[in-house]
Assembly symmetry: C2
């Protein structure tokens, strides 16, 4: 993992911490969701596996350091700083909410506790890993719920923001509930199902559509999905139907999907292919899928690409990574930004999930301990301690099961697309007291 894959200011600050003798002070940074996008009422957390991979592997090569030494911003940096970078590796602790967990605005996703320099430099990579996969997993959960049991496959690599984003979109979409992805590398790397048969270019490559279909059937057998809309959708469906078994079904990729799916269904049924299925794709999202499902379109599966892999109606997530605690010369300070529109809460936190609401508390509190206390799940768990993995991380499939189970427990009113009800989030008395102290105490001048 490339240490330079970070914002330069993480490195200038680190040089400055070194200069000021602060680089090894124990710091706690918190990654939290400051606010949700307008059209989201919850998120499904994803991307933790990539954060852990980064923290375990991040290094600075000699070439990296040589480059940094050429930068004007680091011209006065102490030599010891560059030596520190050459031996840089993450020795701290990571507490995090497991992938596949639903979270809400204001809740922490993870805490990094490490020497200040080791906690500061990862900021950029960690934010971008969590934010993107969480967006895609969340969008997938919305689409999958709307599809009402019909399979949804992620198709979006070509429109994802970079090839790597395509691979991660496949992973995150599966965590959010998709049955698979078109991205082959995501399939291999994350052990998730991959889907793919043929595009229009397949049909165009043959002089004759029927010949193209016969060749596909020969290759794919029971997995054959004919793409029928290269020339004329219903004519294409008739040619597919004429080939009989074996087949999985057909794919509609353009036009009026409701009308075409009904007409195609009739053609398939009249040919005795009542078991043949219809997949639909083409600029779909949860709203278009809802229309089709509510109208009773005979569609058995959906392929969703662009809108899912770019989270098109909410392409960014307001995640922040803030210093919340710092131990200087044996004194722990609880820190928070407090200007205007971007106030944060100090201190490391824990989220306790009760049946129907969450409580955000200080990390040392245990509100569900003691006799008669309402039982709750503590969402943040140790992942890395002293730079080492506590136990192997769950894979994408396990995260997907977690998400599905957790979503079933969320009130339907919280999950619906239109005017969802906010989920109830409370803050502990101790946390509010700590925040009040941090607000009232001016920094020493």
């Amino acid at each position: 993992m490339h240490g330079l894959l970070t914002d330069l200011y993480e490195l200038t600050m680190s040089a400055g911490y070194h200069q000021a003798g602060k680089s090894e002070e124990k710091a706690t940074f918190e990654l939290s969701i400051r606010r949700l996008p307008q059209k989201r009422n919850f998120v499904i957390v994803a991307g933790l596996a990539q954060v852990v991979e980064y923290l375990l592997e991040v290094r600075f090569t000699g070439e990296d350091v040589a480059y940094l030494r050429t930068l004007p911003q680091l011209a006065r940096a102490p030599t010891g700083f560059f030596e520190r970078l050459r031996e840089f590796h993450f020795t701290g602790d990571l507490f995090a909410v497991p992938e596949g967990t639903p979270l809400f605005a204001g809740e922490p996703v993870l805490n990094v506790r490490a020497p200040l320099i080791e906690a500061q430099i990862p900021e950029t990579y960690v934010l971008s890993s969590i934010a993107y996969q969480t967006l895609v997993a969340t969008k997938a959960a919305r689409i999958v719920e709307t599809a009402g049991g019909r399979g949804v496959v992620e198709f979006g690599t070509r429109r994802a923001h970079s090839p790597q984003a395509g691979v991660l979109a496949g992973r995150a979409a599966c965590i959010g509930g998709c049955i698979g992805t078109s991205n082959t590398l995501a399939g291999m790397r994350y052990e998730i199902p991959v889907y793919g048969t043929a595009a229009h270019s397949w049909v165009l490559a043959f002089e004759d559509e029927s010949r193209a279909f016969r060749e596909l059937q020969k290759l794919l057998g029971e997995a054959t999905i004919y793409i029928v809309d290269t020339y004329d959708t219903l004519e294409g469906t008739r040619k597919a139907a004429a080939l009989g078994h074996p087949l999985w079904g057909i794919r509609l990729d353009s036009g009026d999907l409701l009308e075409l799916s009904r007409a195609a269904r009739r053609i398939l049924d009249e040919a005795g292919l009542t078991g043949a299925r219809i997949m639909a794709s083409g600029d779909l999202n949860e709203y278009k899928i809802r229309q089709l499902v509510e109208a009773g379109a005979p569609i058995d599966a959906f392929g969703v690409g662009t809108e899912l892999a770019t989270s098109a109606d909410a392409p960014s997530l307001g995640v922040v990574y803030k210093l919340v605690e710092l131990d200087t010369n044996g004194t722990r300070r609880f820190t928070a930004k407090r200007t205007e529109d971007k106030i944060t809460l100090p201190g490391a936190k824990q989220v306790f999930r009760y049946s129907g609401h969450d409580l955000i508390a200080c990390s040392w509190e245990c509100p569900s301990c003691g006799e008669g206390a309402e039982p709750a799940e503590a969402l943040l768990r140790p992942v890395l301690l002293g730079g080492r993995l506590v136990e192997p991380l769950p894979g994408a499939t396990e995260a997907r099961h977690r998400a599905a189970a957790a979503l079933r427990k969320l009130p339907a009113a919280c999950r619906r697309l239109d005017s969802p009800e906010p989920y109830r989030i409370e803050h502990s008395r101790a946390l509010l007291d700590l925040a009040g102290q941090a607000r009232q105490t001016p920094p020493v001048r």
Copy 2:
């Protein structure tokens, strides 16, 4: 470059081409912009360098092929296909519009001409490379134009869709006109300027804001930018001003940027720091920057992150990669999809750029040849021939100069944010004839 970083259907189709004896037929695929997003009137092409890097390096390892052999979709694929993958490398031609060129809806960005299998498999990677960087370069061009000469720095890695997207965003933003990026790896890899000083965590890490500022000044000297809004923006500005020279200036990252910049300017001027500059950041985009500029806000530079690196108001670009020609047994066919809403034009094409309009023609035409013909620039140029680079590609900085020069030549009415005028695009007679033939001739049945 990982061969599996592609949609599975590229590989199932390739297996099928091999099965049908078509995998080595010479094919031409065209990547074009089917339509522009609602809020875009042009794009700045970017991402070609990554396409070329991919085509030169794409391979399938033994492990890749072993994985593919486990997939049900490839269970019947001929053994020769897997052997073909093991020796796969790109031997074809690539013609492309140089990075930094403005293009419009319907125009081709590049043509790949190669054995069918070698042209099909790159589809996914090529689309995702061009689409994303083009979105960011375009967004940057809009922001930079609105900033009216004030420097714009790209800050968006943390909100980009994956860490790789952050690196590519830095590159593409510079092509679109940004003066630099916060992404250190982009700086090293693409030889573009990097910017970065300190975040709020820097200020929070010290017990005293003034001490934090002094340490920063010691480290950065003339490059010092104080982030002044951790506790109270104007109080922070006063503390910064009290430190005097050396400094570059201050950064405002929250609150009412117009009012705060005016008040901060007064504080700096009253301290005799008339040369100190003000940078503004915080969820900015071209519309907010226009408001600030039009109101005369004394802001000298802008940092733009989320909205730029996600192209937030247009997070996807309708690029497609279509088979337009195929040579089968010595006969060249011109191919086009012609169903409903997704009609394409057949044949390899060239774009001729005249003063004030473009002509899209067949690749063999030369409308600007001959005496008295109006001179035009042919935009698509040979980049790879027989799998080899024709000449070294221009870097990001050269592409940035190309974009700036080309944008100056575009009519202002085409570039404005509100109700821009469409650019005039014509099609040659020969191309329209070819399209008419492809539409009228039903495929052989």
